[in-house]
């Protein structure tokens, strides 16, 4: 059994949670004030995910193209995702929502443009 300390982000209280973990599953949680803390701890232990936003260089342009993952990706894939974004090649013009990196790191999630660039 492993013990993890984390801060709940369900509301501004930011309860300090003490979570008992076994086989990547939550066994118990203490320190929470409400049930949001239980849900947060369970998800955070089993499959933590994050939205990733970054920029891609566009040759010949001063302004880079800003991008995001279309959905949150597994937390342990963040830096691999950033690496893939860095290597991406952009064909102009680009509109908001255009796919810049399809299926990034085999997550099944695309990296998409978040601005228009002619």
């Amino acid at each position: 059994m492993e013990t993890r300390i984390m801060t709940c982000i369900g509301c501004p209280m930011g309860c300090q949670l003490t979570v008992e973990v076994e086989n990547n599953q939550m066994v118990s949680v203490t320190g929470n004030t409400c049930k949001k803390g239980v849900e947060y701890a369970r998800d955070e232990v089993a499959s933590p995910t994050r939205m990733v936003t970054s920029v891609v260089r566009v040759p010949g342009r001063k302004a880079p193209l800003c991008v995001k993952t279309a959905q949150a990706i597994p937390k342990d894939q963040i830096f691999a995702c950033l690496q893939a974004v860095r290597k991406a090649h952009v064909n102009l013009p680009v509109s908001i929502g255009d796919v810049v990196v399809p299926n990034v790191c085999n997550t099944g999630i695309d990296v998409i443009a978040t601005r228009n660039l002619d």
Partner: protein
């Protein structure tokens, strides 16, 4: 001199929302003046997500949020002029501006919406000793370099202040391959959102050092390191607690200041609590025909509320310009009660309230088990719902229905206060 019915100073989220609302209220002859080369304001460089949850029910990045308003403005064919810096506004609403293509221009406006936003507190406002070496930036400047200009300001970073921009930049610099060594906060609490502390610092093992500050910077040409020290309850450094952190970049995230030089020139009264104009429930300042909204009025946490507030200002400016407003008569003051700082609006025409008023303010401290109450002449007339916690980092709001004012026509003073459960 060109005649304009509603002139909007600033083409960020506040100016765009105000202009759209003014057009929808029937004003054809309006103009947005924007000093940068494109519309969108600070949202252009805020590439992270989390915008628009209130307004659109989904989490957008800053540029996406801005584009929705820009698209709407284009659809309505709203006139705007970029690369145009407003130099002066007079009390009778003559606006002087300059641009590379149009030269010096003057406009006579029937109504003006001030939507200039805010700027960051600079190093000079802190009095940090040490050399004036390169490598010291406000967090927003670094954000602009990285996200818009394609430059990285440095490799080894210390962040002073834990405002949201600083936290966001801690993650952003980490994503670009930098080592962020610490986020140093003078106060015993962060002014940033909990979510940002977890997802921008904790996720990447960046320590948040509360009750600490930077007491010295080393380096002649380029920053070489900073000395930090713990502070006592009086916020003064405690001798003997100093430690040196080598770094080439220091980012400052130490507060935002509404940008009101033009307002002052126009004779607009400012509030010492918000550093923004004093306004009534219609967002009108003390100068007839001049309205204010967004971060120039008071620094918001959420752009969604900037849009909402600015749309109201735009609509009211339109009504003024079209001659649809009557003289509201004298207004009564809204006072900051226990735990309340910088309440907006500061004045209310109690007899003329025809729409809900959203009182907004910052709690003075961190309070638990707390609710917002409203007193009319010292008598409690409204108790808000209880909150588990309130903190200076998050704007508190309470909406008051017009009926409450209709029920108390003789009220002479409104107090907004917090009540902490004992």
């Amino acid at each position: 001199m060109r005649q304009v019915d509603v002139l909007i100073i600033g083409g960020g989220p506040a100016g765009l929302a105000a202009a759209i609302a003014a057009r929808e209220a029937g004003v054809e002859n309006l103009l947005i003046l924007e000093r940068e080369e494109s519309l969108g304001g600070i949202l252009k460089q805020c590439i992270h997500n989390g915008f628009g949850l209130q307004r659109f029910g989904e989490e957008l990045t800053g540029p996406e949020y801005a584009q929705r308003y820009i698209d709407k403005a284009m659809e309505l064919a709203l006139p705007y002029q970029c690369d145009t810096m407003v130099l002066d506004v007079t009390p009778d609403r003559v606006v002087t501006a300059i641009s590379p293509t149009e030269g010096l221009q003057q406009f006579q406006a029937k109504a003006i919406v001030l939507a200039m936003g805010c700027r960051e507190r600079p190093r000079g406002a802190l009095g940090i000793p040490g050399w004036r070496c390169s490598g010291i930036y406000s967090a927003g400047t670094a954000q602009r370099f990285v996200n818009l200009e394609g430059f990285l300001p440095g490799k080894e970073v210390v962040i002073l202040g834990s405002g949201d921009i600083g936290l966001i930049m801690a993650r952003r610099m980490t994503f670009e391959g930098c080592k962020v060594k610490a986020c140093v906060e003078l106060m015993p609490y962060s002014s940033g959102l909990k979510r940002n502390i977890v997802q921008c610092l904790d996720d990447y093992g960046i320590p948040l050092m509360l009750n600490h500050t930077v007491v010295d910077v080393a380096g002649r040409e380029r920053l070489e390191g900073v000395t930090i020290a713990q502070v006592g309850e009086n916020l003064k450094p405690i001798p003997g607690t100093e430690q040196y952190i080598p770094c080439d970049t220091l980012l400052l995230s130490v507060g935002l200041i509404p940008e009101n030089e033009l307002s002052t020139a126009a004779g607009v009264e400012l509030s010492p609590a918000t550093s923004g104009p004093v306004v009534d429930e219609t967002l009108a300042t003390n100068v007839p025909g001049i309205f204010a909204a967004g971060n120039v009025l008071h620094v918001h946490d959420l752009v969604d509320f900037v849009s909402e507030e600015s749309a109201r200002a735009g609509e009211q400016a339109a009504r003024y310009a079209l001659g649809q407003t009557a003289d509201n008569g004298p207004a009564i003051p809204v006072e900051n009660g226990f735990g309340v700082n910088g309440v907006v609006p500061q004045r209310v025409h109690a007899g003329k309230v025809d729409a809900p008023i959203r009182f907004m303010f910052r709690p003075r401290n961190v309070y638990k088990a707390v609710r917002i109450c409203v007193d009319f002449d010292g008598q409690e007339v409204l108790r808000g719902k209880p909150h588990m916690i309130m903190a200076p980092g998050e704007m508190a709001t309470l909406e008051v229905e017009p009926q409450l004012f209709a029920d108390h026509p003789d009220v002479s003073k409104i107090t907004v206060r917090l009540e902490v459960r004992q």
